[in-house]
């Protein structure tokens, strides 16, 4: 079953751009990325778009579809009516390179600011022992495919370029939570989350959780528990006194 759909795609670069209209064929069972590919193959071969796996596993084809941050490969065409015009625009939180491709280097810079996993010095490779139930908490966050949709939708940086310096964003809050909950990680992640990565700027509106294609419960399972632990470490008067007396770090 083939029909013609109305698409509006943002075309342009860092200097200038505009929405452009296309009429394009759509077949049964297709997703938005298929239609974008057909545009490339038949109407506009230089249309810039990022994609890799086409199966929701690599997180490359992030864009905004009718204003909503989504993976193009996971957005089925049958979720729209035949009459609907489908508008595809680049991620708004990041600078445009060309058409649907944005400069996401912000995220790689932030990744560099989170100290890597640091295992116990006394365990050699092969000697790690962990319970399944303990690794599962961190495993949820390691499902992240780095599509950066959570970063894109987060209102702390979406329209506030000035916050980017001090704010790592939801993707890196789950990275911090993952390391904090890792049964064998030896570093204190809590103070850094608050003091270096801007955890306190998040006011838990859960927008990030809503757009996550992996359905990671970013707010409930990572951000809120981290905030609670930070409170325990930083603001509990008894702990504060204890840490002064015994120079104790962390929980």
């Amino acid at each position: 079953m083939t029909r013609t759909a109305k698409f509006r795609v943002w075309r342009g670069d860092a200097n200038d751009g505009a929405l452009k209209d296309y009429n394009i064929e759509v077949n049964e069972g297709e997703v938005v990325l298929d239609v974008i590919h057909r545009l490339q193959a038949t109407q506009t071969p230089d249309l810039a778009v990022r994609w890799n796996c086409k199966a929701g596993k690599c997180g490359s084809c992030s864009a905004e579809i009718n204003g909503r941050p989504r993976l193009m490969c996971m957005t089925r065409m049958n979720t729209f009516t035949d009459e609907e015009t489908i508008t595809v625009t680049p991620l708004r939180a990041f600078p445009v390179i060309r058409d649907l491709v944005t400069d996401v280097s912000f995220n790689y810079k932030k990744a560099l600011e989170v100290p890597a996993f640091s295992g116990p010095a006394n365990l050699k490779p092969g000697e790690y022992r962990m319970e399944q139930i303990d690794v599962e908490r961190s495993q949820e966050f390691r499902k992240c495919i780095e599509c950066f949709l959570c970063q894109d939708t987060c209102h702390v940086i979406r329209d506030h370029e000035e916050n980017k310096e001090a704010f790592a964003g939801p993707r890196f809050f789950i990275r911090l939570a993952e390391l904090d909950m890792h049964p064998l990680d030896t570093l204190d992640r809590k103070r850094a989350a608050q003091e270096k990565h801007g955890l306190g700027m998040c006011n838990i509106t859960k927008c990030c959780t809503e757009v996550c294609p992996e359905h990671i419960r970013i707010t409930d399972n990572a951000i809120i528990p981290m905030k609670e632990r930070v409170v325990d470490v930083k603001y509990d008067p008894a702990r504060w006194l204890g840490s002064k007396i015994r120079r104790r770090e962390g929980l």
């Binding site: 670069d13 077949n27 049964e28 069972g29 297709e30 997703v31 990325l33 298929d34 490339q40 193959a41 038949t42 071969p45 230089d46 249309l47 810039a48 778009v49 990022r50 994609w51 890799n52 796996c53 086409k54 199966a55 929701g56 596993k57 690599c58 997180g59 490359s60 996971m74 089925r76 390179i97 060309r98 058409d99 491709v101 400069d103 996401v104 790689y108 990744a111 560099l112 100290p115 890597a116 996993f117 295992g119 490779p125 092969g126 790690y128 022992r129 962990m130 319970e131 399944q132 690794v135 961190s138 495993q139 390691r142 499902k143 992240c144 495919i145 780095e146 390391l179 890792h182 990680d185």
Partner: protein
């Protein structure tokens, strides 16, 4: 002329999947200045798609497992055509490579004792695959990515510059290896974002650029799998081995059309999924080949018992090596017993409870629910063969990864050949990446250190040639659209060089492939050079064509059926052909494929097999020699 960015490194790694990143870690660990070149964004490489796990004989689930058993399984899976030394190194070193991932933060699923859990997989005698649900590739790529980042953090602390010794060039494609005399001297390419041309001067270059799936119409590979590594090596004067062996994974999605080819992990079968045809028959019992008869269940009842009691029952034939299952599905569909969309049914819902399915196969559940609107906890999946992996690749020295014929060039991972023989076992790919990525990195380090001051130079003339070549599709007026050519090329390989091959069709394919050369020379890509997907495809097409040519040539010469190469006109495996590798190189612009003797297995490795088993693969002359050696 467009401006050319210039960089200079000790080691350049082309490819940022598991093998490339492991090679880079090794080079950086030796203190060398290392560049990682990444065709996509960092962390998106095709490694991410691996689902089932990493094969390593750690013996965590069944203590009978060890490297010898893993070695045997690998050789059997490859139908004894594997480079034995690679299979040996792989089986011995895989456990260390998995354990080191844990020290970099990987979180595998656990056994009750808290060790790394291991799962069953096709062709592996014991539960052997370390895994994280069905997203093991993501865990591997993210762990390696974070290992690179941790090295950069160390450099930031030591030198005040995170990129002092290891730098990632994202969305950068290499179009040519530049040589100085016989030796590799650099790599030339373009940056997608800007369209700028870029030159890396480096005496040691590791190719770890992945596979070739995009040469075929139905494939599990992403747009990147265009055989770049294979073609770069070939054009630089190196050789490719075993190119006739292409793995069609038996279970790709067949519907909806937009996801045709996308992988359905083998763990679905390892965890109890069964294959049925349209008549409801578990047809795999009809396709157990002679060489595997004693290893597989002969009845559904026995196969079913194996999941709970593997010591006293044989495994079900759904877990035969991939080539066997792919051919069986192909035959069932051809015989008219296929599913509505031209596949067969794979059903896990009859054996596992819904919550167990969601726990063990989360991304499969997700993938089918969101892409096909199928709930695999209650419904069967429709699956069929998809081009998944190429066993063939750059001919390398097993111990160092040094590419044949070009000093300074190294290769690892899917770009390299030999390890898997005629067919790769599931789970052996991720371990291959790490074992041989590390070795190729170490090979590059040793080579670099042996040079002293005698470093090869890149000449201006070679830069001009490379840049003219890269820019040609942008300058060419009024030619053909690259997307049309790609679709036509994929149709030719699909129809004439696919799962089942025959002499007349292969000959026809060679003629048709030749016809593409003129079309390639006449491609036009409108638009500028900045992020111009059409231009990128135009350059990739050259690699796809060259690789397809090698596959078709080798497939025509090998007159037998073995692993990922099935000849309708020569349906049997031949012991004489087992002694031969087919090796491709380019001479005056033409692909030439020649026979080369397969390296002979050492006596102590041969002794790991029963003579009766060896008799299934080897000539009587080889067996006589072996029995004399064993008696001596």
């Amino acid at each position: 002329m467009t401006a050319i960015e210039r960089h200079s490194f000790d080691v350049v790694v082309i490819g940022a999947g598991g093998a490339g990143l492991r090679a880079a870690v090794e080079a950086r660990a030796a203190g060398l200045r290392t560049a990682i070149i990444c065709k996509s964004l960092f962390g998106k490489a095709h490694t991410v798609m691996a689902e089932g796990g990493i094969a390593a004989a750690m013996g965590n689930v069944n203590s009978k497992d060890n490297w010898q058993v893993h070695f045997r399984d690998t050789m059997r899976g490859g139908k004894f055509l594997n480079n034995f030394r690679m299979a040996e190194l792989h089986a011995k070193e895989a456990p260390d490579r998995v354990w080191e991932l844990e020290t970099w933060g990987a979180l595998f699923d656990r056994t009750k004792e808290g060790k790394i859990s291991q799962r069953n997989f096709g062709g592996h005698e014991y539960p052997r695959l370390a895994h994280v649900g069905d997203r093991t590739g993501l865990e591997l790529i993210r762990t390696m990515q974070q290992a690179i980042v941790s090295l950069q953090q160390k450099d930031a602390a030591e030198f005040g510059d995170a990129e002092a010794r290891i730098k990632v060039f994202a969305e950068t494609t290499i179009t040519e290896i530049i040589k100085d005399g016989d030796r590799a001297a650099g790599a030339f390419g373009y940056v997608r974002e800007t369209g700028n041309l870029i030159l890396f001067e480096a005496p040691a270059i590791v190719i770890a650029a992945g596979g070739i799936g995009k040469s075929f119409k139905v494939t599990s590979n992403s747009w990147e799998g265009t055989g770049d590594g294979h073609a770069l090596a070939l054009k630089a004067g190196s050789k490719l081995v075993d190119m006739e062996f292409v793995q069609f994974h038996p279970t790709g999605m067949v519907w909806p059309p937009s996801v045709r080819g996308i992988l359905v992990t083998e763990s679905v079968r390892g965890d109890g999924g069964v294959l049925r045809n349209s008549e409801g028959r578990r047809f795999m019992f009809d396709y157990i080949p002679e060489v595997f008869k004693e290893k597989y269940a002969q009845s559904e009842e026995e196969g079913d018992r194996w999941y709970a009691d593997p010591d006293n029952n044989r495994r079900p034939p759904e877990l035969l090596p991939r080539d066997e299952v792919a051919r069986a599905i192909n035959s069932e569909v051809k015989a008219g017993r296929g599913s509505p969309h031209g596949g067969v049914f794979l059903d896990v819902s009859t054996r596992l409870a819904p919550d167990v399915i969601k726990k063990k196969l989360p991304s499969m559940w997700h993938q089918f629910k969101e892409l096909a609107d199928v709930d695999i906890t209650t419904q069967a999946m429709e699956v069929g063969p998809t081009c998944h992996y190429v066993m063939g690749g750059i001919l390398v020295d097993p111990d160092t990864g040094a590419a044949a014929g070009v000093p300074g060039l190294f290769a690892a991972g899917e770009s390299a050949g030999g390890m898997h023989g005629s067919n790769r076992l599931g789970g052996n790919s991720l371990s291959d990446l790490l074992v041989f990525g590390r070795r190729a990195g170490a090979g590059a380090v040793a080579y670099f250190q042996s040079l002293g001051g005698n470093v090869p130079k890149v000449t201006d003339a070679s830069i001009t040639t490379a840049s003219d070549h890269a820019l040609a599709p942008l300058r060419n007026p009024g030619g053909e659209n690259p997307y049309t050519i790609q679709a036509d090329l994929q149709q030719v390989t699909n129809d004439l060089v696919g799962i089942i091959r025959t002499k007349s069709e292969l000959e026809e394919s060679l003629g048709k492939l030749k016809g593409f050369r003129a079309r390639l020379a006449n491609i036009t890509c409108p638009g500028g050079s900045a992020f111009n997907s059409g231009w990128h495809l135009a350059l990739d097409l050259e690699n796809m064509l060259l690789v397809s040519d090698c596959i078709a040539h080798a497939a025509l010469i090998r007159e037998e059926s073995r692993g990922g190469h099935t000849r309708e006109d020569f349906p049997k495996m031949s012991a004489e052909w087992r002694k031969v590798n087919l090796v491709a190189h380019v001479e005056n612009g033409e692909v030439v494929v020649e026979k080369q003797a397969l390296p002979e297995m050492r006596e102590e490795l041969l002794n790991l097999f029963d003579v009766e088993e060896l008799a299934k693969y080897m000539t009587s002359e080889e067996l006589t020699r072996h029995s004399k050696g064993a008696n001596a």
